[in-house]
Point group: C2
Amino acid sequence: MTQTTLMKECQNGIVGETIKAVAEAEKIDPEKLCSLVAKGLVTIPKNANRDTLPTGIGKFMRTKINANIGTSRDYIDAEDEISKAKIAVQYGAGAIMDLSTGGDLDAIRKQILSEISVPVGTVPLYDAAATAPMVVEMTADDMFNAVRRHAEQGVDFVTVHAGINQNTVDKLMKAGRITDVVSRGGSFTVAWMSHNDAENPFYAEFDYLLEIAQEYDVTLSLGDGMRPGCIHDAADAPMFEEILVLGELVKRSREAFVQTFVEGPGHVPLDKIEMSVKFMKETCHDAPLYLLGPIVTDIAPGFDHITSAIGGSVAGAAGTDFLCMVSPSEHLALPTADDIKVGMQVAQIAAHATDLVKEGVRDRAKERDDAMGFARKNLDWEMQYSLAIDPEHARAVREARSSGSDTEACSMCGDLCAMKIVERELEKGRQKAAIKKNDL
Amino acid sequence: MTQTTLMKECQNGIVGETIKAVAEAEKIDPEKLCSLVAKGLVTIPKNANRDTLPTGIGKFMRTKINANIGTSRDYIDAEDEISKAKIAVQYGAGAIMDLSTGGDLDAIRKQILSEISVPVGTVPLYDAAATAPMVVEMTADDMFNAVRRHAEQGVDFVTVHAGINQNTVDKLMKAGRITDVVSRGGSFTVAWMSHNDAENPFYAEFDYLLEIAQEYDVTLSLGDGMRPGCIHDAADAPMFEEILVLGELVKRSREAFVQTFVEGPGHVPLDKIEMSVKFMKETCHDAPLYLLGPIVTDIAPGFDHITSAIGGSVAGAAGTDFLCMVSPSEHLALPTADDIKVGMQVAQIAAHATDLVKEGVRDRAKERDDAMGFARKNLDWEMQYSLAIDPEHARAVREARSSGSDTEACSMCGDLCAMKIVERELEKGRQKAAIKKNDL
C-alpha cells in the first residue's frame, strides 16, 4: 500500500491538477478545495489508472447527477447502453454508473471507460453475481476479485454494500417491512449471508477493500442495501442501523486515505426526508451524500422521474450533494434513450433548485434565474429560450401556439399581458414621482 | 343581507346536505366538519344558486387541485376549453377556474357552470377588464358588477385582489423587484390604481364585496396580486404586506359568514417555501391556503408542471390545502388538452405526496401506497397497474420492453430480481428459525 491517493496528497497540502481543474469549474479557491478533500467533505472520484474529467461532489460544490446505464440479461446491446451514457453526459450527468449484468461485462465496462470522460462507477458485486452459477454461490474471493478487476480497469468509484452485517440483517428480520430488500446489491448480500450462514465479506474484511481502493485510488460509494422500497418501510431500524455502520466505515476509509460518499434512500415520505438526510450527514461525519430519489410516493410508476425530482429537491435542500437520475421507466422497464434524456432534464431541475439554496453555490446558481426574470420582464423570448433547461422544447411549445395579434406576448394572455400593462403604468408613476421630486 | 350561508348554518350547528356529502367523501364525522367550516378552517365553495358537487378544502381534508382553463383574445374556442375542463375533472380536479378573456365571456361561463359538476371559480376582474375599452378605464362599478353577475350565474368562488392597497403598492415601488407584478389581476389592479390615482375599490369597499358574496354564498379566494414572478422577487415586503392585509380580510369575511381561502405564491426557492406557508397560515388565521406552484426555479419553461410539483409538495407538507395545476406550457402558451392531462397527473402526485404526511389524511392515503408495496413484493403487475396514477401508461411502458425469459420480473433486472432473490433466502432462513424453535 504505497500508492498515494488524492486524499493523502490533499492532506499534505499538495494542490495538483485534479484539484485545480475542479476548483476552476466550481469557482472556488484551490487551497480551500484541497482542504475540503483532505477532510473528506468533498469527494472527487478519479481512478489513478484513468484520465477522468474530474467532478467535485460535496460541500460548496454544485449538486451533481449520476445516470445509471447498463445491459440486463434480456437486453444485451452494449452500443445502445454506451449511447445512453453519452446522452446522459450531454444532458448534464456528472457521473455514469455501469450496472450491466448481461453480455460480456468486461468488454462493456472497458468500452464505457474509454468512451465516457466523466467519472464512471460500478457495482462489482453485480459482476461477481452475474458470473457465478447462482448468486448465493459466489465466493468471497469472487467478490473481492471483481472489485480489483474493476479498479485495475480504471473504474473511478465502486458501490460496496459493506454496511450490511448480521446486526443489520437481525434488524431487518424484526422490522415488519412490506418489501424487505429492494437494493439489488443488498439483496445479493443478504441472500448470500443467509444461504452461507456467514458474515458479509465486504464488512468482515473491509480493510482488504480499503487496500484495493487505496492501490488504485478508487472512491468507495458506501451502498445502502437496506434502503426502503416503499413508503411503509421508510426510515426504520434496519436503514438507520446500516447508516450507523456506514459512519464507522467512512472514518476507517478516511484513515486509509480513501475517498467515500454515502448512498441513501429510496422511498421516503416528504416529512422524513430532511430528518433522514441530516441523520446521515451527522452520523457519517459530513461525508458527501448520494441519494437515489427519494421517491415520495409509491403510486406513480411511469412518473418516477417526477416523484424522485420532488424528493431529490427536498433532500438537496437538506444537504444532499449527489442525485441519481431516476428514469420515467423506473419500476417498470430498462430505460430507453429518450427516458434517459427526460430523466436527466428533470434531475437537472432538482439539482438546480437545490443549488439555488446551497451554501457557497446559491449566488452563482441564481444568476441564471435572474437573467430569466429580466428576459421575461422584457418579453425577450430568444433570451428566455437560451436560458431554458431545453431551449428547443421551450421554443416549440410557444411557437406551436404563438399569438397572432401580438408577437411579444404569449397566447396565454395576449394583449392582457400583466408584464406589459403594469410596466406601462408603473413607468408613468415613476416619471410623475421624479417630476414631483424635481419640483421640490 | 338576509340570505343564510353555509358558514352561518354551521355556526348554528346545522349539519346540512353539503356537510354530509363532504363528510362522507372525506371519511370525517359530519359534526366535526360542521365545526371546522364554522371556524373557517375548512372551506366548501358552493354558490347558493348552483347544484355544485361540493369539495372540502382545508384542515383534515385531502389536498385538492384546481385546474385553470379559459379562452384568450387569440384563442376563442369555447368547446375546446370545456373539453379541457372535463379532462381536468376526469384526472382529478376538485375545482375548475374559468379565466376566459376572449369571446362571449358570459356564454362560456354559463356553459362551464352547466357542464361541470365540481366547484367553478372565476376572476371577475378579468371580465371587467376584458370588456372595458382599456383595462385602466374600468369603473369601480364595472368591477363590482362583474362580481355580482358571476355570483348570480352560480360561480362558486371568485378571486378578488382585495389585498392590494396604497401601502402594498408603496412597498412594491421600493422593493427592487425584477418582474414587479406578474399576477394578471394584480397587474390590472396596480395599473388601475396608478392610472386613476385611487385606492383599489375591492379593498376600499370590501364590505360591499362581502354583501354580494353573502347574498349568493360565494366563497372569496383572496388573491395574491403581489406574488413573486421570479426567484429573485420571492418572499419580499410587498408579498408579506399583502398577506397581512389578507389576514384582516379573512377575519372580516368570517364576521360576515363568508367563506374564504387565501392564494399564495408563485416563484419561491426551496428554502423559503415552508416559512412562507407558515407565515400565511399564522397571519391568515389558519384559513385554507391555495397555492399556484410554487415554482422552485425560473429556468425550466416547458417543465413548469414539474418545478411546480416540487414546490407544491414542499408547500403541501408545510400546510397548503389546495394546489393549482400548472401545465407544461406555463410561461409559454395556452395549454393544450394533453397539457391539462399531464399537468393534472403531476399535480395529483404532489397532492398525494402531501396527503401522505397530512394530519387526519395520511392513514387513508397510505393504504394505496402500502397496497402498491405488496403488489411489488408479489410481482403482481396487474395490481401494480390498477394502483398507478395512470394504469394504461404504466402497462404500456413495461410491455414495450417486457422481459422474454421471465414474465414475472421486469426488463431492468430480469432473473437478478432483488425481490425474488431475497425472498427465497429469507423464507429459508425463517423456516430454519422455526425448525430450531420447535427443536427446543
